[in-house]
Each structure stands twice: as structure tokens, then as C-alpha cells.
């Protein structure tokens, strides 16, 4: 399976990027390139180890791991949990839970302005919405936002459930079916 998105490069050029199942090459690039830039930073995910995280979930059938790749470089990473999480808006219904999502350091306004590519995080999130429709969850998506990203989920008009005591006080956001439908109109 391959899904192609378009991104805007720093010089304004529109380029293609492929959303692919996570591979050892993606993890290797994280180890060699992302980590070196993130570890000395003050980013909230500066300590994340995607290799270890992947090892923990790679054999679990309810987890899916993806990378957004552009010009043979890993531009974003995402893990989805697709079976056990339930909606808070519609408590008896399933949703796609974004377990982890992050863009490459050079695509973050907090590290590089302007970012190398724009559209990376939105591409990953859009794919989570697409998966939700494919799984017949009607576009419902939930996640716990890192503090520095809350404004993005507000802009997407996700419902803000506030700080979650059970999840390190991170804010829980959920995309309703109505808002998911509006996003879906943009990818037909």
C-alpha cells in the first residue's frame, strides 16, 4: 500500500511524499539523523526512541506503524492503535487512536523556520482519518497531544477534553465524525 501526498518545500516547490509502512530504513534514519538533532533540543519528544517503541508494538495486530518519506528521507513517523480505544464522544464506538506522531526536526517551526517541508504533520493526521473511514469508524480519531502541539488540534476543530490525569496530564483531543467528514471532502 502506498499513499502519496504533496508537500511544499522550503523553496516553494511542490513535491510528492509517500506514506509507507514503517521500515528498518526509516528507523535507521531516525537513529542516525533525527536523534542527533533532537537529543540536545528542548523538544518534548527529545528522549523518544522510535526503535524501542516499535519493538514493543511490532508484533501486536492492533498497531500500525507508518512513515512519510520524501526524496528517500523520513519526514514524519506515526503509530496508530486501531482496535482497543473507544470514542469519548460516542462511548460505544471505536476510533483510531494516534499512539505517537512526530515530524522530523527540520519540519518543526520550533527548530527550523521556515520548516524544510510544510504539510508533513497534516499528511500523517489525514492518513489517520482515512484509516478511520476504511475501518468503518466514520473518521473518529483520538490522541493525547504534546503541549507544544495543542494549537494544531484546536485548529483542526478537534474536541478538547482537557488534561487527562491518567495520561501524564496531556490534553485528550478527539475528531468527531462531522469534522472528519469535512476533512474527507478534501481527499474525496
Amino acid at each position: 500500500m502506498k499513499t502519496t501526498f504533496r508537500l511544499v518545500r522550503q523553496d516553494g516547490l511542490v513535491v510528492d511524499a509517500d506514506l509507507l509502512p514503517l521500515s528498518s530504513d526509516h528507523l535507521s534514519q531516525f537513529e542516525r539523523i533525527w536523534k542527533r538533532m533532537l537529543q540536545p533540543s528542548s523538544e518534548h519528544d527529545s528522549h523518544w526512541d522510535w526503535v524501542r517503541k516499535h519493538r514493543k508494538v511490532s508484533n501486536l495486530p492492533n498497531y500500525e506503524a507508518y512513515a512519510l518519506e520524501c526524496d528517500q528521507m523520513t519526514e514524519g513517523l506515526m503509530f496508530l492503535e486501531c482496535d482497543f480505544h473507544h470514542s469519548r464522544l460516542e462511548p460505544d464506538k471505536n476510533l483510531v487512536y494516534v499512539d505517537f506522531i512526530a515530524t522530523a526536526p527540520w519540519n518543526r517551526p520550533s527548530i527550523q523556520a521556515p520548516p524544510e517541508y510544510r504539510g508533513v504533520g497534516t499528511a500523517l493526521f489525514t492518513f489517520a482519518v482515512q484509516r478511520s473511514f476504511e475501518l468503518e469508524y466514520k473518521g473518529r480519531v483520538g490522541l493525547h497531544s504534546l503541549p507544544s502541539a495543542e494549537k494544531f488540534y484546536n485548529t483542526l476543530k478537534m474536541i478538547d477534553f482537557g488534561s487527562d490525569d491518567n495520561y501524564e496530564n496531556l490534553k485528550y483531543f478527539e475528531l468527531s465524525t462531522d469534522e472528519a467528514m469535512k476533512i474527507a471532502e478534501r481527499f474525496g
Binding site: 499513499t3 504533496r6 511542490v14 517551526p109
Partner: protein, 92 residues
């Protein structure tokens, strides 16, 4: 399957990202940053409540200036303590 997200999607994506103007990330793993986040969380330490408690319980022993000093000092000490306690956590 190869679905291509075209320029309509891209225009929307850029508009959303420009409007938000922030990083895009999520996941339960603040690790060593948890202490700092909790310590800086709005409402973590309610200075008004602390002032009321001090005035009620030891107001006859301390002056208003002494109570004010404590109220200003305690949140900083608590923040430092939380950060110190949690910074050693290493999570995958």
C-alpha cells in the same frame, strides 16, 4: 492502492499549519520533561488557596509580609522539587 492527495488538500494543509504555527506531535511519553510540564501547568499550585490557608492557620503568628514571602516562595520550591524528582525518569 495509491491515493494521491492533490492541490486542494495541500492548500488546506498549508492553511491549517500556518494558522496553528506550531509543531505537530502526540503521544503519552513526556519522560524527563514530565516534571517541568506538571510544574508549569496552569493551576498546579494555587497561590490564593495557599494564602488563605496561611492566613487562617498561622495568621496570628506571621505578618502579612511573611505570608506573602511564603506564598511567592513555595511554588518555585515545589516546581524545583518536582523537576528534580522526575528528571531521572527515562522512558522509551
Amino acid at each position: 492502492m495509491n491515493r494521491k492527495f492533490d492541490k486542494t488538500w495541500l492548500s488546506w494543509a498549508i492553511q491549517i499549519e500556518n494558522e496553528a504555527g506550531c509543531d505537530i506531535s502526540a503521544g503519552l511519553d513526556l519522560g524527563q520533561n514530565l516534571g517541568e510540564y506538571i510544574a508549569n501547568a496552569q493551576g498546579c499550585i494555587n497561590q490564593e488557596n495557599l494564602r488563605s490557608v496561611l492566613q487562617e492557620d498561622v495568621g496570628n503568628l506571621l505578618s502579612e509580609n511573611e505570608i506573602e514571602d511564603i506564598v511567592n516562595l513555595v511554588p518555585e520550591r515545589v516546581r524545583s522539587r518536582i523537576k528534580e524528582k522526575l528528571k531521572s525518569f527515562k522512558v522509551a
